[in-house]
């Protein structure tokens, strides 16, 4: 969590004319979208509007059918090795990305090692993020025995541990109690100061109102226009 | 016409017949080893080849027909849309001035 603005590998992510078609079903239609460091972009839209698809494409895990995703103006292919770029993209997806048969702590330690956190710092870092999401008490519980809300918090802790440059948060506040939700929104807001690029999908207009600088509306695979923040 | 050529293999057929007759007359169950008539096998082989090739061609043709139907539908839809566009332009035009 020590990276400063200058050491970030990129300061801007841009989708240029991005379309995605899955076997003749159009998920995204010529989406143009740009997010810069130090901003929080909210995305709203009905189910099936293509929000998850957009996130998967921004995460570089899914290639667009046409159009390009640019990081500081360069294509994904310009980043070699690609895994160096991917290490800077954090996603809180529909799915938790946590192994159900390992405890929360073990999951975080596993991913922490992959993120490149040194062996000496790892226990502290894990402890800190667990405290951040108020999961310290249940860290030795296996993920498959965790409730929806607990899993959600652990998944968020995973992104915190990664502390990526690009934060892609899909419904970060679902299933959370009021206090945790507030704490989490606080953390998200603070990423502005850290000059991270944050994109949040949410059905929670209130939450977006609190954190987001702007809210875009995604409908039928298309970003309509710059919304006002309320939907 | 080419198939007629197959039946010129009379010698093999008659030989086979002779053996078969000899075998049955002696009450020995016939072992088909060497004396299988070659003609039918050859015809079968050529038939199989053409059946496979033509089945493939027919299948390909059907795929093509389906695609053409789709292209037709697309064109139709495109024409409709263009007509709609013209209609709109007509409506907008006078009002704009």
């Amino acid at each position: 969590m020590t990276a400063t603005h200058d050491t970030l590998p990129f300061h801007e992510v841009q989708a240029v004319d991005v379309s995605k078609i899955y076997d003749r079903i159009v998920a995204l239609r010529r989406v143009n979208f740009k997010a810069t460091a130090g901003t929080i972009t909210g995305i709203v839209g009905p189910n099936g509007a293509g929000k998850s698809t957009l996130f998967h494409i921004l995460s570089t895990l899914v290639a667009p059918s046409s159009g390009r995703v640019l990081f500081d103006g360069s294509d994904v292919s310009a980043w070699q090795p690609r895994s160096a770029l991917r290490g800077q993209i954090g996603m809180l997806g529909h799915q938790s990305f946590l192994y159900p048969d390992m405890t929360g702590e073990e999951n975080l330690t596993f991913f922490g090692t992959l993120f490149g956190i040194g062996r000496a710092d790892l226990p502290d870092a894990v402890k800190r993020v667990l405290e951040c999401v108020r999961m310290d008490h249940a860290k030795t519980r296996r993920v498959k025995h965790c409730s929806r809300g607990m899993t959600q918090r652990l998944a968020f802790a995973r992104v915190l541990l990664q502390d990526p440059t690009l934060w892609l948060l899909d419904e970060p506040t679902t299933g959370l109690d009021v206090d945790t939700r507030a704490a989490m929104l606080d953390i998200i807001s603070s990423q502005k100061v850290n000059k991270r690029i944050v994109v949040v999908i949410s059905h929670d207009p209130e939450a977006l109102h609190v954190v987001a600088d702007r809210v875009l509306r995604l409908d039928r695979g298309r970003i309509d226009d710059n919304g006002t923040g309320d939907t | 016409m080419i198939w007629l050529g197959l039946f010129s293999d009379e010698s093999a057929a008659t030989a086979a017949q002779a053996v078969a007759q000899a075998a049955t007359s002696q009450g020995i169950p016939m072992l088909a080893k060497e004396e299988v008539p070659g003609g039918p096998l050859l015809i079968a082989a050529y038939l199989v080849m053409w059946i496979v090739v033509f089945a493939y061609l027919i299948w390909m043709h059907r795929t093509n027909q389906r695609l053409l139907a789709e292209v037709e539908l697309l064109e139709q839809r495109l024409d409709e849309r263009i007509a709609e566009g013209n209609e709109q332009r007509k409506n907008i035009g006078p009002r704009g001035t």
């Binding site: 895990l61 895994s83 991917r86 048969d101 490149g116 | -």
Partner: protein
Amino acid sequence: MNQHIQHFWVVFRKDIRIELRTREILLTMGLFALLLVVVFSFAFYTDAERSRIYAPGILWTTVVFSGTIGLNRLFERENENGCLSGVLLTPISPRMVFVAKAMGNLLFTLLMEILTVPLLVMFFSLDIQPVGIFLSGLLLGTVGFCFVGTLFAAMLSAARMKEVLVPLVVYPIIVPIIIGGVKVTAVVLNDYPVEEALNWLKLIAGFDLLFVSLAIWLFEPMIAP
């Protein structure tokens, strides 16, 4: 390079830890292998003389069939909760993920063989001579099977028909391993000249060399453009 080894080790150890906890792969694979050996014994055992002829085929059929269960299950774990996406969004090279998974499969399949081979020796009253040749044949064959198998099990882990598609695709490719493995086993069971076994071992080793490298290389372009 050091980092690659560390990444490999982390993923590999994680799989072992989960397996030690759930034991589902080893248990199901082991039970299935056991069952196959027993069923084959009923089907083929007559006397010690003839079992030497059948045993090589039975061994390799058991290894490949039971191994397939492990292949499918081990990569399925990466799909639970979408973990693979999480792993790929780290600085790890996708190839190291593949190598770690393949080595995990290799380990579990070898453990299953440790159970199967003694049983087979007992049930069919076999005499393996020389053991070294037999073991290297088994090991080399299992390596090739696990790497090729893991590649397609990984690709198809999300496919609807993976239980059918994985064997359908993997078995024909690894036929040289099966033929070679059966031949090597036949040599050690029947006191055939050892040179023949060495020839087959060379073939399997060549197959491994090419297909293990191909599989490692292919994983990345296959999983994402």
